[in-house]
Symmetry: C2
Subunit: 440 residues, 2 copies
C-alpha cells in the first residue's frame, strides 16, 4: 500500500513556485488562489469553484473578452513588427486615443507597462523643465523601475534615499488635518506643495513637476477637498513645473462620468500616463501629452520601445475601445456604480465598522474603522474580510496606508445582478467580522 500524498496540488505548485520565483514574490490571500479559467466577471479555480471578480481592473472589458481575443489573434496571425516600419494600427489607435483628451494633449508614445509610461513622463518633464524635483503624495506607488521607485513613497526603498522627490500628505477629507477646518483643508494641503517647491529651491534642486493619480487610488480612492486639484495645478504651473496625471488605474472610463479621472476637475495635465486596463491584460501602456513636449523630448533623446505600439498591441487597444463604446461600459459604470454605492451605504448604516464609503464609477473604497469616532484603522478586520470573502467566492482586496480600506474595482461589464452577489456576501461577512470585533 502506497503512502497517501501529503500535499495538495496547490501546495505542490506553491513549493515549486517558491523554488523558482522565491518566497517573496507577492501572492494574494492567506491561502493562495490557484486559478485556471476566466470569463467576463468570473474566475474559476482548479477545483471548478467559481469566484466573482470584484478586484481586477486589468481585464477591463471582462476576462477573455472574445472581441479582444479575436482582434489579437487576427493581427498576430497577420503581422507583428516594431514601429520603425509604417503601419496603420498605431496611427489609427493613437489618433482615436488622443481624441478622448483635451485638444492640447494631441500626441502619444506607446510603451508596454505603466512603469515605462511613468519613466517616460519623468524623463520628458525633467528634460522640458531642466529640473529634477518631483512632488508626489506621501503614500504613492507608480511602478517598479528605479526612477519610478524613487517616487514610490508608500512602498519603495529607493524613495527613502533620494533628494529629487518630496511628498505632501495625502489630501483626505475623511481624516483631514488636526486643527484645520473643513473649508480650509484644500488650502492646507496646497500649502504643503508650496513648501515642497520652496524646499527644492532652497536645496538648489530645480523643480520639474507633480505626479499624482487623479483618483488618489492607492492612497484610498480619497475624496479630496474641493478646489484642491485646481489650486495645486495652478501652483505647480506657476513654479514652472508640469502636471503629470497617472491614469494607469483611474483611466479608460473606470470612473464612468469621464474617460479620464482628471476630467472630473477643471484642470488639464501636461502629460498623462496610461496602463493596466489599456490592453485588457496585453502589455500595453503609454503616454498622451502636449505635442511640444513629445517633439522636444524625442528630438533630444532617441526613444524606441521594441514592443511598444506593435500592430498586435494596437489591435488589442482598439478592441478595448470598441468594447467600451459598443457595450456602453462608461454608462454602465455610472448606473451599476451608483447601484453598488447605494448598497454599500446601506451596509454602512448597519455596520459601524464601515467608516466611509467612497465611489467613483465602478471603483469603490470602503474604509474600515474599529471605532467611528476615533477612526482607528481596522487593519486586522480588513484582512479577515478579504479572506472570508474569497472563501465565499468573491474576490476583493485592500488599499491605503494601513491596508484597512476595502478596494472594490470589478471588470467594467459588472452588472446589478453581480452587485447583488457582492453586497449579499459582504453583508454576511461584515456580520461575522463585526461580531468577532465585539466578542474579542
Amino acid at each position: 500500500m502506497q503512502n497517501a500524498p501529503t500535499h495538495t496540488p496547490a501546495q505542490d505548485l506553491l513549493a515549486r513556485r517558491i523554488n523558482v520565483l522565491g518566497p517573496h514574490t507577492p501572492l494574494f490571500y492567506d491561502e493562495p488562489l490557484h486559478l485556471v479559467r476566466g470569463e467576463g466577471v468570473w474566475l474559476y479555480d482548479h477545483s471548478g469553484k467559481r469566484y466573482l471578480d470584484v478586484y481586477n481592473n486589468v481585464p477591463h472589458v471582462g476576462h477573455c473578452n472574445p472581441r479582444v481575443v479575436e482582434a489579437m489573434h487576427r493581427q498576430a496571425s497577420t503581422l507583428n513588427v516594431h514601429t520603425r516600419y509604417l503601419h496603420n494600427n498605431i496611427i489609427d489607435y493613437t489618433e482615436r486615443l488622443s481624441a478622448t483628451f483635451a485638444d492640447s494633449l494631441s500626441m502619444a508614445m506607446l510603451t508596454c507597462t505603466g512603469s515605462e509610461a511613468n519613466e517616460l513622463a519623468l524623463r520628458m518633464a525633467r528634460h522640458h523643465t531642466g529640473g529634477q524635483g518631483i512632488i508626489v503624495t506621501d503614500f504613492a506607488y507608480h511602478g517598479n523601475t528605479e526612477a519610478v521607485a524613487e517616487i514610490g513613497t508608500g512602498f519603495m526603498p529607493e524613495s527613502r534615499h533620494t533628494k529629487r522627490v518630496k511628498a505632501f500628505a495625502i489630501p483626505d477629507s475623511y481624516r483631514g488635518i488636526e486643527g484645520v477646518a473643513e473649508e480650509q483643508l484644500a488650502d492646507a494641503y496646497v500649502a504643503q506643495i508650496a513648501r515642497a517647491i520652496d524646499e527644492f529651491a532652497a536645496e538648489g534642486i530645480p523643480f520639474a513637476g507633480m505626479l499624482v493619480c487623479p483618483d488618489f487610488a492607492n492612497e484610498g480612492l480619497l475624496n479630496i477637498p474641493a478646489g484642491f486639484m485646481e489650486k495645486a495645478t495652478a501652483l505647480v504651473h506657476k513654479a514652472g513645473g508640469l502636471l503629470i496625471a497617472d491614469e494607469v488605474q483611474a483611466g479608460f472610463g473606470r470612473t464612468g462620468k469621464h474617460w479620464w479621472a482628471h476630467q472630473w476637475y477643471d484642470i488639464t495635465p501636461d502629460i498623462v500616463t496610461l496602463g493596466k486596463p489599456m490592453g485588457n491584460g496585453h502589455p500595453l501602456a503609454g503616454v498622451v501629452a502636449r505635442g511640444d513636449l513629445i517633439n522636444a523630448f524625442t528630438e533630444h533623446s532617441m526613444y524606441f520601445n521594441t514592443f511598444g505600439g506593435t500592430p498586435v498591441s494596437c489591435a488589442v487597444g482598439m478592441a478595448v475601445l470598441d468594447a467600451l463604446e459598443q457595450d456602453n461600459l462608461l454608462e454602465n459604470a455610472v448606473s451599476t456604480g451608483d447601484y453598488v454605492a447605494a448598497g454599500l451605504r446601506q451596509l454602512q448604516t448597519k455596520y459601524p465598522l464601515i467608516g466611509e464609503v467612497r465611489d467613483r464609477g465602478l471603483f469603490f473604497a470602503v474604509e474600515l474603522v474599529t471605532d467611528p469616532v476615533t477612526k482607528t484603522p481596522a487593519k486586522k478586520q480588513a484582512r479577515r474580510i478579504i479572506n472570508l470573502m474569497k472563501e465565499q467566492s468573491v474576490l476583493i482586496s485592500t488599499i491605503g496606508v494601513h491596508d484597512a480600506i476595502l478596494k472594490l474595482r470589478p471588470p467594467m461589464p459588472f452588472q446589478p445582478e453581480h452587485a447583488d452577489v457582492l453586497l449579499h456576501t459582504l453583508d454576511k461577512v461584515l456580520q461575522q467580522v463585526s461580531e468577532e470585533l465585539v466578542h474579542g
Copy 2:
C-alpha cells in the same frame, strides 16, 4: 474632372503618423516601409511586394509562427491574470528556462521588456553590493528608462551627466589599440576596467558591477580578444561587483552553439537579462539570476509587474522554446550560419569595401571600410547599401559607432535557400556601391 491625388497612401500615412507620434519617432530607410503581412522569414508591403527579412530577431521563430500564435490564442481565450494568483504556466516556464543556464542561475523574475529586465538587474546589483558604480562599454545601449539610459553611453543624453557609470573602450580585435600588440589586447582592455574600478573608489562611489552584452552586438558583434571576458569577470568579482550579462539580443540560441552567448566563455554571470526574441514579438522579458540575489532583493523591495509572467506571456514563451527545440533551430543557426558566413567571406575576397566579416550563429556583422589599410568607416556606403538592399527586397540594417557595419540577424528558421537570395542580392548591391565609390 477631379484633381489627381498628390500623395501616395504611404505618404498620407506618414503625415498622419508625424501628426500624432511626431517627426522624431524612429523609422527605417530613406523611404519608410509600409508593411501589412509577415510569414516565416518574409514580410509583405502594402503593394504586395515581398521582402526577405535578414534583420528582425524579435520574430525569433518566424513571423506569425503558427505554434506561437495558437498558444497565445488558446491561453488568451482561457485565462490571463497577474502573478498574485497561483498558475502553472509561470512555474513550468521559468523552471524550463532556468534549466538552460548554469546551476547557480536557479531563479527568475519576469518582466515585459528588456529595459525593465535591465532596470531590475541594476536595482538587484546595487542592492546586493550596496554600491552604485556600473561599468559598461563606451558604445552601449541597454534600453529606454532613466537608469538604463544612464548606462547607454552610445546613445542617451542621461549617460553624459551621471557619476554612477564609467565606460571602457569596446574590445575590438579588428581595430585594436594603437601601439598595443594583438596578444596584449585583452590585458589592455581589462586594464581600462581596472582603472574605472579605481576611479569609482577614488570618487567615493562604491562599485556595483559590470553590465555588457556578451556578443557586444550594438558595438558591432565584435570579435573580442581571447581571454578578455574571463579576465574582466574575475576582476569585477574580485572588486566585489556583479557581472550582468545582457542577453536581450544575443540569447535564445541566436549564436547557435549555445543557448546563451555568455556560454561561449568560461564565465558564469550573476544576473542575466532576457528580452526581444523571448516572446516572438509578445512583450516578454526577464531576469535569470542567482537565487540568493533574487531572494535578498525581493525580501527588501516589493517587486510586482502587472503584465510580467501572466499565463498568456508564459504560454507564448513556452511555445517559443518548443519551436526552437522541435524545429532544431539552434542546429540550424550553426549550419545555415556557417553557410551564410562562408558566402560573406567569399564576397569579402571580391570587394575591398568589406573590411571584416564576423559571425556567431545566425548573427553577422559586415564591417565596411573605404580603405582596408586605414580601415576608414564607410558610413555613407553602408547607408546606401541598406537602402538599395531594401529596394531589391532584402531587409538589413547597420550597427556600430559609425553605423558602417552591416547587421544581418534573420529569424531563426532562415535556410540556405534564403541565404542564397541574401548573398546574390548583396553581391549585386556591393558591385554597384563599390563602383560608385571608385567613380566618386
